[in-house]
C-alpha cells in the first residue's frame, strides 16, 4: 500500500491552516461513523491548553447522513458531544492530555483554568481518560506539542485545542492519514507523551476544580 502511495504521488502530509476546523470535524465525525457501525472509537488529544471547542457543523459544508449520529443534525457540535458519542461503545478509547492545572497556566487568569477543569471533569464523567503533564525536574520545561489523533488520521501543528487556537490565531500545521508513514511517527510520539503524563482521576479533578473555584 505504501508503495502504491508513492506511485500515486500523494502527499504524506497535508498543509493545514485556517481550514483546521474542517479537518478536525472530518476526523471526529469519521470516528463517530465507525462507532455507529459497531466499531470502537479512538481519540487522543494532546494540547497544553484545552477546552470544549465548538464546531460549526451547519456552516462547515460537511453533511452527516447517518441516522444514528443524532448530533450530526445540529448546527453546532462540541467536543464533549463527540466524546459522549464515542464512549457509547465501551471499547472506545478517548484520552485528553494537557498541562497540569496551575494558577499560572492561563497567565494568572484563574477563571480560564476553572473552565478548563470543568470541561475535563465533564469529559471524565463521560468516560474519557485525562492526563496531566508536569516536569519533575526542570520546571521551565513544559509540554508544548499539539495533536488530534484518531484511528483515521492525525492533525498536528501549532494550534492549541482551544477556540483561539482553532479559529482565531494565525497558526500552522499538518494532517496525515493512516496510509502515511508520518501518521505512525506521530502516533508513537503521542504514546511517548502520554506515557510521561499522569492520569487524573475523577476525584482529583473534582478537588482541583473546588480549589480553583475557591480562588475565584
Amino acid at each position: 500500500m505504501l508503495l502504491r502511495w508513492k506511485l500515486t504521488k500523494m502527499r504524506e502530509t497535508i498543509q493545514v491552516g485556517e481550514d483546521v476546523q474542517i479537518y478536525d470535524l472530518a476526523v471526529l465525525l469519521g470516528e463517530a461513523t465507525k462507532v455507529s457501525a459497531g466499531s470502537p472509537g479512538y481519540l487522543t488529544i494532546v494540547s497544553p491548553w484545552i477546552s470544549n471547542v465548538a464546531y460549526y457543523l451547519g456552516s462547515s459544508g460537511l453533511t452527516v447522513g447517518i441516522p444514528a449520529i443524532a448530533f450530526g443534525r445540529r448546527d453546532v457540535v462540541r467536543l464533549l458531544d463527540v466524546i459522549e458519542y464515542l464512549q457509547q461503545d465501551p471499547r472506545s478509547q478517548v484520552r485528553l492530555a494537557t498541562l497540569k492545572p496551575s494558577p499560572n497556566k492561563y497567565s494568572g487568569d484563574v477563571i480560564q483554568q476553572v473552565w478548563e477543569l470543568r470541561f475535563l471533569l465533564e469529559a471524565c464523567e463521560r468516560g474519557a481518560k485525562i492526563y496531566f503533564y508536569s516536569s519533575e525536574r526542570d520546571i521551565r520545561k513544559i509540554m508544548h506539542p499539539k495533536f488530534l489523533l484518531t484511528s483515521l488520521g492525525v492533525v498536528f501543528g501549532s494550534f492549541n485545542f482551544t477556540k483561539s487556537g482553532r479559529y482565531w490565531n494565525i497558526e500552522d500545521g499538518n494532517y496525515s492519514s493512516t496510509l502515511s508513514p508520518v501518521y505512525f511517527e506521530k502516533k508513537e510520539r503521542v504514546e511517548d507523551i502520554i506515557s510521561k503524563c499522569k492520569e487524573a482521576t475523577f476525584d482529583m479533578l473534582r478537588s482541583l476544580l473546588s480549589e480553583f473555584e475557591r480562588r475565584t
Binding site: 500500500m1 502504491r4 502511495w5 506511485l7 500515486t8 500523494m10 502527499r11 497535508i14 498543509q15 493545514v16 485556517e18 481550514d19 476546523q21 474542517i22 479537518y23 472530518a26 476526523v27 465525525l29 469519521g30 461513523t33 465507525k34 455507529s36 457501525a37 466499531s39 460549526y56 451547519g58 456552516s59 462547515s60 459544508g61 460537511l62 453533511t63 452527516v64 447522513g65 447517518i66 441516522p67 444514528a68 443524532a70 448546527d75 483515521l152 488520521g153 477556540k163 479559529y167 482565531w168 494532517y175 492519514s177 493512516t178 496510509l179 502515511s180
Partner: protein, 801 residues
C-alpha cells in the same frame, strides 16, 4: 355666544318689535314668545347646565365603550385584520383580505370594488386571479367562511370569464403568439391579446355566482349535472356554508346551495432572459445542466388562461376566451438541460430499465389519449379520458401485468379492434367505484377507433418517446429546482416561480415581483458555497462576534439531498422489504393487534439496523395498520406505479378472504370500502412517489401535472451521473483504489466512495487518505458521509474545492 349677550339681543329685539306693534298686530305673539324665552334664560342655572353637558359627554363615552365591548364579544376573537374588516358592511360576495400590509409597493395592483365599502381595496394580479375562482382558498372579509362558486357546467370546456367584473383598457395589454401558449389551449387566431386587469368589481362576480335553490328547480338543468350536485346549507346573511362541522352565528335561515367544487387557476408563463451571467457550478449538476446563469433582465409574462375544477373525484379543465395576465421584468435564474444527459437517460432506460420505460409509456398513452379526445371534440373531462385509459388497463391487468413497452402498446392498439375490451374494463370498474361515461356503446366504439388510433400514431412516431421523456424529465426537474430553491431561501411560490420551456429544454426560476425581490440574487450567491468561503465566514463571524450568515446547505446540496430520496420513502421501503420476508411478515401481521409483539419487533429493528426515531415511529404507524399488510402482500414491488394509477384493478384481484381481512367490519358495498383501504395503502412513498414535488402554481395545472411528473426518471438521471463518479471500494483491488479515486477527482472534481457495512473500515481509510490531497489547483475535502441500508450502504462524497 354667551347667555348674557343672548339676553341683551332679545331685549333689543323686544324694543324694536314693540315700536312696530301698531303697524302689525300679529307681532304680539312673537313678542310674547320672546319674553318667555327671556324669562327662561334669566332663570337658567348656568353651572348646572355645564355640569350636565360634561355628564352627557361621559355617558356618550361609556356608550362607545359598551358598543366596542359588544362588537368584540360578537367577534369573539378579534385580530388586527378582523378589526379592520369589521367596519365593512355585510357581504354576500366572495372576497379576500387584501395583502397590502405585507406587500411590496412595486407589485402591480388591481383595484377591487367591494360592495358597500367607501374605498376600494388594492390587491396584486395573482390574488385577483385567484379571487375569480374561489374554492382554492377560504375567503374571508368578515368571519371565516366558505363561499360557493356558483353556476358551472362540467360539460363546457370553454367559457367566457366574468368580463363585466374586470375592467381593462386597450392600452394595458400585450400580445402573444399562439405557439407560445399551452399546446392544449384552444386559441382561435395566431395572435392573442392578453389584458392586464385594472379593476375587479366583486358585486358582479357575486351576481354571476348566486344560485338559489328555487332558481335551480326552475331551470331546466341537465339531469346528469343535477345528479352530480351535492347540496350544502348556506347562510343568507353572511354567506357562510354549513357543512356539518361549521356554522355561523347570524341566526338566519339557511339556503340550500349546490356544493362548491374546488377551482384552481391555470396560469401560464412565458419567460425569457438576456445578459446572462454564469453561476458557479457544481460538478454533479454540471452534468445535468449545461449552463446555469443569472439574469437581471428576465422578462416574465403571466397569463391566466382558464381553470381546473375538482368535484367528487372528477376534474375539469376549462379555458377562458379572454386572457388576463401581467408582464414585468425581474431577476431570474436559467437552467439549460444538457442534451447529452437526455441522450444518456433515454439510452439507459431503454437498455436497463424496462419497467420505468413501461410506466412512462403508460403516461404517454394517457396524455395522448386525452389530447386525441379533446381534439375530436368529445368534451370529455381529463378524468373521463383517464377513465378510458384506466378501463383498458384494468381489463388487461386481469390477464397479467404488462412488463414492457411492447406489452403496453398491445393493450392500447388492440383496443381499437376489440371495443369489447373497453366495455369489459368499464364494467369491471363499475364493480368497485362510481363511474360515469356520457357515451353509449356505439359512441364509445367510435371514440376508441378514432382516438386510440391517433394516440398510437403519435406514440409510435420516431423520437416520440425521446420527446416525451425530455418533457417529463424537464418538467419534473423544474419541480425539484423550485422546491430546493424555496427550501434554501425560506420563501414560497408567492415569491418565487418557475417555468419550463418545452422547445428549448430550459428551466427558469424568477422573482415574482417587478424588478425582483432578491430571491434569485440570493440564489446566485448561495448556489455553490466553497469550503474556503465557509472557513472564512466562520472565522469572521467569531472575530466580529456575529452569527454565521451562510446557509448550512447551498442550493446544489439541497437539490442533491432531495434527489437522494426522502426519509418517508426510506421508511416505507423498509416496511415493504420486511413484508417480503415470510418470517418477519408473520410477526408484522401479529403486531397489528398485539402491542407487545410490535414493541419487540421495533426494538429489534432499532438494535439490528440502527434506525433513527423517525423511521421507528413511521414503521410503528405502518405496523398498526393491518389493512396495509393485506393489501401490499399481494403486490409486486415493480407494479406499484401501475396499481397506483388503477387501484381498482388491485381490488378486483384480491381474494374474498383478503377483502374481509382488509375491511372486517364492512358488510355492504365491500368492494368500495376495500378500494378506500387499497388507495390508502398505495399512498406509500415508494416507486418514485412524486407527492412532495406537487406545487400550487404549476403551469400544467394542479391535476394534469401529476401525469407529467416522474420522480424515478429524475432519480435515474442522478444515478447515471453519480455512477460516473462512483468508486465501489469492494470492487477494486486495494492497491488500485487510491489511483482510481485520484483519477476520478482529477477529471471531475467529485468522487463518491461507497461500501457495504462490512467494508466500512476500508472505505474510511481510503476517504481519509484522500482528504486534503491536492488535485490540480484544488484540495480534496469530505463533503458528505451517509448511510442508507436500502440503497448504497455507506457513501462518502468528496469534492475538490
Amino acid at each position: 355666544m354667551s347667555l348674557e349677550s343672548v339676553k341683551s339681543k332679545i331685549e333689543k329685539l323686544l324694543l324694536l318689535l314693540s315700536a312696530k306693534l301698531p303697524e302689525d298686530i300679529s307681532l304680539v305673539r312673537v313678542i310674547s314668545k320672546l319674553s318667555e324665552l327671556h324669562d327662561s334664560i334669566s332663570r337658567a342655572d348656568l353651572p348646572a347646565i355645564r355640569e350636565s353637558s360634561v355628564e352627557l359627554e361621559r355617558v356618550r363615552k361609556v356608550e362607545e365603550v359598551l358598543s366596542l365591548i359588544e362588537t368584540r364579544l360578537k367577534q369573539r376573537s378579534p385580530t388586527y385584520v378582523d378589526d379592520f374588516i369589521s367596519v365593512q358592511p355585510l357581504l354576500k360576495y366572495p372576497a379576500k383580505i387584501p395583502g397590502t400590509l405585507f406587500e411590496s409597493e412595486k407589485s402591480r395592483k388591481v383595484v377591487v370594488e367591494v360592495p358597500g365599502r367607501k374605498s376600494p381595496d388594492q390587491i396584486n394580479v395573482d390574488e385577483m386571479m385567484t379571487m375569480l375562482f374561489p374554492g382554492l382558498l377560504t375567503f374571508r372579509y368578515r368571519k371565516l367562511r366558505k363561499v360557493p362558486v356558483g353556476r358551472w357546467s362540467p360539460f363546457k370546456y370553454r367559457v367566457a370569464p366574468p368580463v363585466s367584473a374586470v375592467f381593462v383598457t386597450d392600452r394595458d395589454r400585450f400580445d402573444v403568439q399562439r405557439d407560445l401558449l399551452p399546446s392544449d389551449y384552444p386559441a382561435e387566431s395566431s395572435t392573442i391579446s392578453v389584458h392586464i386587469p385594472l379593476e375587479l368589481r366583486l358585486s358582479e362576480i357575486g351576481q354571476d355566482f348566486v344560485r338559489r335553490e328555487d332558481q335551480l328547480e326552475e331551470t331546466d338543468a341537465e339531469p346528469i349535472e343535477a345528479e352530480s350536485n351535492l347540496y350544502l346549507e348556506l347562510c343568507t346573511r353572511c354567506g357562510a356554508v354549513q357543512d356539518g362541522d361549521e356554522t355561523c352565528a347570524c341566526g338566519r335561515n339557511f339556503l340550500v346551495y349546490a356544493a362548491p367544487p374546488k377551482s384552481y387557476p391555470l396560469i401560464w408563463n412565458i419567460v425569457d432572459s438576456k445578459e446572462n451571467e454564469a453561476i458557479s457550478g457544481d460538478p454533479v449538476f454540471g452534468q445535468i445542466f449545461s449552463e446555469v446563469s443569472f439574469s437581471a433582465n428576465t422578462t416574465v409574462k403571466k397569463i391566466l388562461y382558464g381553470f381546473e375544477r375538482r368535484f367528487k373525484a372528477n376534474t375539469w379543465r376549462i379555458y377562458y376566451d379572454t386572457l388576463y395576465g401581467d408582464a414585468f421584468k425581474a431577476d431570474g435564474v436559467r437552467f439549460k438541460v444538457s442534451r447529452k444527459i437526455i441522450e444518456d437517460l433515454v439510452k439507459h432506460i431503454s437498455e436497463k430499465d424496462s419497467l420505468l420505460l413501461r410506466d412512462l409509456r403508460i403516461l404517454q398513452y394517457a396524455n395522448e389519449l386525452h389530447r386525441a379526445i379533446v381534439r375530436n371534440k368529445y368534451d370529455f373531462t381529463f378524468s373521463q379520458s383517464l377513465l378510458i385509459a384506466k378501463a383498458l388497463l384494468v381489463e388487461a391487468l386481469m390477464h397479467g401485468t404488462p412488463k414492457t413497452v411492447e406489452d403496453v402498446d398491445v393493450i392500447f392498439e388492440t383496443a381499437k379492434k376489440q371495443p369489447q375490451k373497453l366495455l369489459d374494463g368499464l364494467e369491471l370498474l363499475k364493480k368497485v367505484s362510481d363511474i360515469f361515461v356520457p357515451l353509449n356503446e356505439e359512441e364509445l366504439g367510435h371514440l376508441l377507433e378514432i382516438c386510440t388510433s391517433e394516440a398510437s400514431n403519435v406514440v409510435k412516431e420516431d423520437q416520440s418517446l425521446h420527446r416525451f421523456v425530455l418533457d417529463v424529465f424537464a418538467h419534473s426537474l423544474k419541480h425539484y429546482v423550485l422546491t430546493s430553491a424555496m427550501i434554501l431561501l425560506g420563501v414560497d411560490e408567492r415569491d418565487l416561480r418557475s417555468h419550463h420551456t418545452q422547445t428549448e429544454d430550459q428551466l427558469f426560476l424568477y422573482d415574482n415581483l417587478p424588478d425582483g425581490n432578491g430571491c434569485c440574487e440570493t440564489l446566485r450567491k448561495f448556489a455553490k458555497v466553497s469550503f474556503s468561503k465557509r472557513v472564512s465566514a466562520v472565522r469572521d463571524a467569531l472575530e466580529k462576534d456575529t452569527p454565521v450568515t451562510l446557509p448550512s446547505k447551498d442550493f446544489f446540496s439541497i437539490l442533491e439531498e432531495f434527489l437522494v430520496g426522502c426519509k418517508a420513502e426510506r421508511a416505507d421501503s423498509v416496511y415493504i422489504k420486511l413484508t417480503r420476508d415470510p418470517q418477519v411478515a408473520t410477526v408484522i401481521q401479529a403486531s397489528a393487534t398485539d402491542d407487545k409483539v410490535r414493541q419487540n419487533l421495533l426494538l429489534r429493528l432499532k438494535q439490528d439496523f440502527a434506525f433513527d426515531e423517525y423511521t421507528i415511529s413511521h414503521l410503528d404507524a405502518l405496523f398498526r395498520t393491518e389493512s396495509h399488510f393485506h393489501v401490499l402482500k399481494n403486490l409486486n414491488d415493480e407494479d406499484f406505479f401501475i396499481f397506483k394509477l388503477v387501484p381498482e384493478a388491485l381490488v378486483l384481484k384480491l381474494s374474498e378472504n383478503d377483502k374481509l381481512r382488509i375491511c372486517p367490519d364492512t358488510t355492504v358495498e365491500l368492494d368500495k370500502a376495500v378500494l378506500g383501504k387499497v388507495q390508502d395503502a398505495l399512498e406509500m412513498c415508494v416507486d418514485g412517489c412524486p407527492l412532495c414535488l406537487y406545487g400550487s402554481f404549476c403551469e400544467m395545472g394542479i391535476f394534469l401535472m401529476k401525469y407529467f411528473l416522474s420522480r424515478r426518471l429524475v432519480e435515474t438521471c442522478y444515478k447515471i451521473v453519480r455512477d460516473k463518479f462512483s468508486v465501489d471500494v469492494e470492487r477494486l483491488p486495494r492497491d488500485k483504489l487510491l489511483e482510481r479515486s485520484i483519477e476520478v477527482l482529477s477529471s471531475s472534481k467529485v468522487l463518491y466512495l461507497k461500501a457495504s457495512p462490512t467494508n466500512l473500515s476500508l472505505l474510511m481509510e481510503t476517504a481519509f487518505s484522500l482528504l486534503g490531497q491536492p488535485v490540480a489547483d484544488s484540495k480534496v475535502y469530505i463533503k458528505m458521509i451517509s448511510f442508507d441500508l436500502m440503497r448504497d450502504g455507506y457513501v462518502v462524497k468528496m469534492e475538490a474545492d
